[in-house]
C-alpha cells in the first residue's frame, strides 16, 4: 500500500463537519490523513436551529460534533485558524497563524456570509448580522440596552432572526424590499396570510420598503429612512437580506467562480482544479447557490463517493422546505409559483383559522408540481412524496388541501410510497432503509431515529416516519398489544386508574376484580409499585410481601452470587466525617466490599441475607436511613457544592438537593428517578442528564426534565426558567405525580415524554398551565406520599414478623455454602467458578 494521502477540509460548518463524518464512516477512511481548518473559535454547530440559543439551548447542545470525534478519528483540527491562501502548484494551504499544509485533495466548505446592503450607515453601532454564535452574543448584548429591533429582510432567515428579537423581549419590526414576506417560497396570498399571523404575534411588518440611509435616531440609537419617505426608529438593525458565497480563497488562487460569486462545480462537486472540491453554500452548481443544508449534505456525500471511486453525482436538489416560524407552520414545495408551462393552481383560504394552501399541478392534473402551505403544514409529508416520486394524483387533487370533516383519509398512506422514496431529506434516508431498520429490530421511534438518523435533522419528516413505522410493525404482525401481561388486559395507566378510583388496596382484590390466573413476575411488582405510590403502605406488609421483586423483598440489591448490597441514603451527597466513619465501621465489621456510586453515595457489597438486619440496625443507630437503591423509586439528588463554597456558585445547590431528596424519598414510581442540582451554569452536578435537573441562575432556578444516562443517554429538556423555590417544587410535584400516574412499567421519564402525544409542549401545558385541571389532585397525591413516608428499614427491624424472612434457611442457621469470596485489591469479591472448585478441594482435603 502506498502512503496515506492528505485531504484538507477548509471550513468546519454544518456541511464541512458532515463531510468529515461521512468520510470517517466510509471504507476509504484509512487511505487519508485528514486535516481541517475552522475559522470560528468552536467546532460545527447547528445553524438551522440557531434561534433556540435565545430560549435556553446551550452552545454545547447546538454542537454537531460528538465529544472526542476528532481525536477518535485521528483528524487534526486547527480551531480559530483561518485558511488564507491556496497554492495550487505546490498544493498547499497556508493559514492565518502561518501554518502550511500540503494536500492531495482539498475540499472547500467555506460557506457563506450574510449580505449587508451597501446602504449608507450600514456599519453603524448595533447594525448586526445573524449567522454565528458570536453574532448572537452581540445581538444579546445589544438587546440589554435597546428596546426596538428591526430585521432587514423578510425571508426565511429574516423571520428566524425576528423570532430571536421577540424572544429577547424587543419591539420587533421586519422590513422587506419585496411586496410580501418569504417572496421566494410563497405566492402573494400565502405571504399575506403569513404576514397576518406574524402580526398577530406582535411583529410589525413593513413590505415594499427600500432602506436609503441609516442615521442617528432620537428615541433610539438608529433611524432608518426609506425611499418612500417613511422612517423607523430602532436600536438594533439586523441584516438578513440573503447570503453570499465565501469564494475569496477560490478567486485568489484562480479557480473559476460565477459572475455573481460562487465556486463553480461539476456534478462530482469538482472545481476547475481536479484536486479541489467545493461543497455547501460556497459552491455554484448549474448557476445555483443552495442556501439550505440538505443539498450541502448531498454534495458532501457526493465528494466522499467520488474519492472512493464510486459513481455519484450531485444533480440539483429539491428546495422544498417546511418550518415553524414563530409558531406558524410554513411550507413550500417544488414549483410554488406555477412557472411550469400549463400549470394549474388550486387554492384554499380560511380567514377564520388563518390557513392558506395552494397546489400547483400539471396540465393533465396527474402530477403535483408544487405547493404552498401556511398555518397548517400537516399535509407537507404527503404532498412532498407526491411531488418527488411523481405519484399520480387522485381524481380531484383539491381533496388534498380541502379540510376533510368526515373520517375519510386523503393522506398518502406509507404503503403507497415506493421503497426508493426519500423520507428524510436532511440525512437522505429512504423508505427502504427505514423498513430494513425496522426488520432489524428497531421497534420504536427512538430506536429508529438512533439507527437511521431519520427525523433528527429538521424533524419535518417525524410524522411520516412514525406512519411508516406503524405500518411496517402491523405488517409484521405486531398488533400493538398494550396489555400488561396475560393476567391483566390493561395498561399500567389503566390499572393505576382502577386502583385509585375503586380504592383497591391489595393485589388479590385487583386480580379478583379485573384479572385472571395467579399473576407473574411482571404484574406483581408493577401492581405492588402502583399500590405503594398510591397508598404508600409498607411494602413488606403481609398483603404486599409476595408481590415484590427480590430487591424490594429484602430491601437490598441482589448481586450475581445471591448476596446483597446495601446503600444508605446520603442526601445531596453531603456526609459528615462521623457518619462516614460509622459507615466505614459497618463495612469493616461485616467485611463488605465498599464502592462509591455515581449518585454520590456508598455501596456496601457482599452482605448475606441473614446479615442485612444486623447491618441495618447499626446503620440506623448511627443515623442512616434506607437509600431505596433497591426500589423503582427516587434514588439520589446529586449536587455540586454550590454557592456555599464555590467561587462561581450562584445559589445553594446542596441545600436544595437535600430538601428535594427528603421531600421525594420513598416515592415509588414506574422506574428509578434521578435528580441533580447544579449551583451555576457550569453544571458540575450534570443535572441535564437526569429525570429532574435543576440549575441555579441569577434569575432563579431553571428546571430541566426527562434526561437520563444509561444505555441510551438523553439530554434533559428545558422545562421552565427563572423559578422561585416554591414554584419549582410545585412543578416537580406535579411532574412526578403525572409520571407515576401515566407512564408504562419500567418506562423512564425520557421515553414517557417522547411517546406522549404532543411531547414536551403537552407536558408543559399539563404541569404549568393545568390543561387537564389535574394539578390540585397531583399535588395532593404527592403531599400524601410525603406525609406517609417511613424508613422501610427502620420499620422492618422493629417488627419481628418482617424479620422472619431474613435468613437463608428456614430450618437451619447455616449460611449458604455457595457464597465464596476471594480477596482483590484489599477487598472481597465473589469467587469465580475455578476459584470455587479450588476452595471446595481445599475443604475436602
Amino acid at each position: 500500500m502506498s502512503e496515506k494521502q492528505t485531504v484538507v477540509v477548509i471550513g468546519n460548518g454544518m456541511v464541512g463537519q458532515y463531510f468529515l463524518a461521512n468520510l470517517v464512516d466510509s471504507i476509504i477512511k484509512e487511505q487519508y490523513q485528514i486535516v481541517t481548518f475552522c475559522e470560528e473559535p468552536r467546532v460545527a454547530y447547528d445553524r438551522v436551529h440557531l434561534s433556540a440559543f435565545f430560549t435556553g439551548t446551550t452552545v454545547k447542545e447546538l454542537s454537531l460534533v460528538e465529544d472526542g470525534f476528532f481525536e477518535h478519528n485521528g483528524i487534526t483540527i486547527h480551531l480559530g485558524d483561518k485558511a488564507v491562501t491556496i497554492n495550487r502548484v505546490a498544493k498547499t494551504v497556508t493559514s492565518a497563524k502561518g501554518l502550511t499544509i500540503t494536500y492531495d485533495k482539498l475540499v472547500l466548505a467555506t460557506g457563506s456570509y450574510p449580505f449587508v446592503p451597501p446602504v449608507p450607515g450600514h456599519d453603524r453601532a448595533q447594525c448586526l448580522v445573524y449567522r454565528t454564535i458570536e453574532d448572537l452574543e452581540a445581538i444579546a448584548a445589544a438587546a440589554k440596552t435597546g428596546k426596538v429591533g428591526t430585521v432587514v429582510g423578510g425571508g426565511l432567515l429574516g423571520l428566524e432572526a425576528a423570532k430571536a428579537l421577540m424572544d429577547l423581549g424587543l419591539e420587533t419590526h421586519v422590513v422587506e424590499f419585496a411586496p410580501r414576506l418569504m417572496a421566494v417560497q410563497l405566492d402573494d396570498a400565502g405571504g399575506a396570510m403569513l404576514r397576518r399571523k406574524i402580526e398577530n404575534l406582535g411583529v410589525i411588518v413593513h413590505t415594499g420598503k427600500n432602506t436609503s440611509i441609516i442615521t442617528d435616531g432620537e428615541q433610539c440609537v438608529n433611524l432608518m429612512c426609506f425611499a418612500d419617505g417613511e422612517q423607523l426608529e430602532t436600536d438594533i438593525v439586523l441584516f438578513s437580506a440573503g447570503i453570499r458565497p465565501r469564494d475569496e480563497l477560490a478567486r485568489d488562487c484562480g479557480l473559476e467562480v460565477g459572475q455573481r460569486g460562487g465556486i463553480i462545480i461539476d456534478n462530482q462537486c469538482r472545481t476547475s482544479d481536479d484536486s479541489i472540491y467545493a461543497i455547501g453554500e460556497c459552491a455554484l452548481w448549474n448557476g445555483m447557490i443552495y442556501g439550505l443544508v440538505a443539498p450541502g449534505y448531498t454534495m458532501a456525500r457526493t465528494v466522499v463517493a467520488d474519492l472512493a471511486g464510486n459513481e455519484a453525482g450531485f444533480t440539483g436538489a429539491d428546495m422544498s422546505t417546511k418550518l415553524k416560524l414563530m409558531g406558524v407552520d410554513v411550507a413550500s414545495i417544488g414549483d410554488a409559483h406555477a412557472k411550469t408551462q400549463g400549470a394549474m393552481v388550486y387554492s384554499y383560504q380560511n380567514g377564520d383559522s388563518e390557513v392558506y394552501k395552494r397546489l400547483v399541478v400539471s396540465q393533465d392534473k396527474k402530477q403535483l408540481l408544487g405547493a404552498v402551505l401556511v398555518g397548517d403544514a400537516s399535509g407537507y409529508g404527503t404532498l412532498l412524496q407526491y411531488c418527488l416520486n411523481g405519484i399520480e394524483l387522485p381524481a380531484y387533487p383539491d381533496a388534498l388541501i380541502l379540510p376533510h370533516r368526515s373520517d375519510e383519509s386523503v393522506g398518502l398512506g406509507p404503503d403507497a410510497l415506493p421503497v426508493s422514496a426519500q423520507i428524510c431529506s436532511c440525512y437522505d434516508v429512504t423508505k427502504g432503509a427505514i423498513c430494513s431498520a425496522i426488520e432489524g429490530g428497531c421497534m420504536t421511534m427512538g430506536a429508529l431515529k438512533a439507527e437511521t438518523k431519520a427525523a433528527t435533522g429538521c424533524g419535518g419528516c417525524a410524522a411520516l416516519l412514525k406512519s411508516v413505522l406503524d405500518s411496517e410493525l402491523s405488517k409484521q404482525g405486531f398488533a400493538v398489544n398494550t396489555d400488561l401481561c396475560e393476567h391483566f388486559a390493561y395498561t399500567r395507566q389503566d390499572l393505576h386508574n382502577l386502583i385509585r378510583v375503586e380504592k383497591i388496596l391489595t393485589f388479590s382484590e385487583l386480580l379478583h376484580k379485573h384479572g385472571k390466573g395467579k399473576g407473574c413476575e411482571i404484574c406483581k411488582p408493577t401492581i405492588a409499585n402502583i399500590l405503594a405510590s398510591q397508598w404508600n403502605e409498607h411494602i413488606l406488609e403481609k398483603d404486599h410481601l409476595g408481590l415484590q421483586d427480590t430487591n424490594d423483598t429484602f430491601l437490598a440489591n441482589m448481586q450475581k452470587d445471591g448476596t446483597y448490597s446495601v446503600v444508605p441514603r446520603i442526601t445531596g451527597g453531603e456526609i459528615s466525617p462521623d457518619m462516614l466513619i460509622a459507615l466505614g465501621q459497618v463495612g469493616k465489621k461485616y467485611q463488605l466490599y465498599t464502592k462509591i456510586t455515581g449518585g454520590q453515595r456508598v455501596d456496601l457489597f457482599g452482605a448475606r441475607v441473614d446479615q442485612l438486619p444486623h447491618i441495618w440496625k447499626e446503620l440506623i443507630d448511627a443515623g442512616f436511613e434506607s437509600g431505596h437503591a433497591y426500589g423503582k423509586s427516587l434514588r439520589t439528588v446529586k449536587s455540586c457544592v454550590g454557592s456555599t463554597w464555590c467561587r462561581y456558585g450562584v445559589d445553594d445547590s446542596v441545600g436544595l438537593a437535600i430538601e428535594l431528596e427528603n421531600r421525594y424519598k420513598g416515592l415509588r414510581s414506574p422506574h428509578k428517578i434521578k435528580f441533580a442540582v447544579s449551583g451555576c451554569t457550569r453544571e458540575c452536578a450534570e443535572a441535564q442528564g437526569k429525570d429532574v435537573g435543576i440549575i441555579a441562575t441569577e434569575n432563579g432556578w431553571n428546571l430541566y426534565v426527562c434526561g437520563n444516562g444509561g444505555m441510551k443517554p438523553r439530554h434533559a429538556d428545558l422545562f421552565a426558567t427563572g423559578l422561585d423555590k416554591e414554584t419549582l417544587i410545585k412543578y416537580i410535584d406535579r411532574f412526578l405525580s403525572f409520571y407515576v400516574r401515566t407512564a408504562d412499567r419500567l418506562q423512564r421519564t425520557s421515553v414517557w415524554m417522547e411517546n406522549m402525544e404532543g411531547g414536551l409542549d403537552y407536558l408543559k401545558s399539563v404541569v404549568i398551565e393545568d390543561k387537564l385541571g389535574l394539578c390540585d389532585q397531583l399535588e395532593q397525591q404527592m403531599q400524601y406520599v410525603i406525609n406517609t413516608y417511613q424508613c422501610e428499614w427502620k420499620t422492618t427491624i422493629e417488627d419481628e414478623a418482617k424479620l422472619k424472612r431474613f435468613r437463608h434457611f428456614i430450618n437451619s442457621d447455616q449460611p449458604d455454602d455457595n457464597i465464596v469470596f476471594v480477596e482483590e485489591r484489599g477487598q472481597i469479591r465473589p469467587a469465580d467458578s475455578d476459584e470455587r472448585k479450588h476452595f471446595k478441594l481445599m475443604e475436602i482435603a
Partner: protein
C-alpha cells in the same frame, strides 16, 4: 421408601412466596400459595424445587416471584428471570434445563418433604 421429613411449621412459610430449607445437604425452595390458589388451610397449593439457579449459578430460586404462565405454576429466577415449572422443574425458556422437584405436603401444621419421591403425574402432593 416413603420417608417424609419434617421441615418446619406452616407458620414459618411466607404466604404466596418462598422460603429455603436445608435437607440432607440439599437446598430446597418451598413455595406456598394460600391466597392466590384461593384455598386457605390444607388445600392451599405447595411446591418444592431445588434452590439452585442453573443459569445464575447461585442459590436464589426461593427468592423468586411465583405465579402462573399459560396455566403452569412457575417461579421466575430473581437473577435473570428464567421461569421454571413448579410441578416438573422444566425451564420454560430452555426445555433442556430442568431443576429438581420434590414431593411436599402439609401434615397437621407441619411442612414435610420426601426427597426420595417425586410428585405424581406432575400434581404436587398436598
Amino acid at each position: 421408601m416413603a420417608k417424609w421429613i419434617d421441615v418446619c411449621s406452616v407458620d414459618d412459610l411466607q404466604p404466596d412466596s418462598g422460603v429455603c430449607a436445608l435437607l440432607e445437604g440439599e437446598q430446597v425452595a418451598i413455595f406456598w400459595m394460600p391466597v392466590l390458589s384461593g384455598a386457605e388451610g390444607p388445600d392451599a397449593k405447595i411446591y418444592a424445587v431445588g434452590n439452585y439457579d442453573p443459569f445464575g449459578n447461585a442459590n436464589v430460586l426461593s427468592r423468586g416471584l411465583i405465579g402462573d404462565i399459560g396455566g403452569q405454576p412457575v417461579v421466575a429466577s430473581p437473577l435473570y428471570k428464567q421461569h421454571y415449572n413448579l410441578q416438573t422443574g422444566v425451564c420454560l425458556e430452555d426445555e433442556t434445563v430442568k431443576i429438581p422437584v420434590y414431593a411436599v405436603r402439609i401434615d397437621n401444621g407441619s411442612v414435610q418433604i420426601n426427597l426420595s419421591s417425586l410428585p405424581q403425574d406432575g400434581e404436587p402432593a398436598l
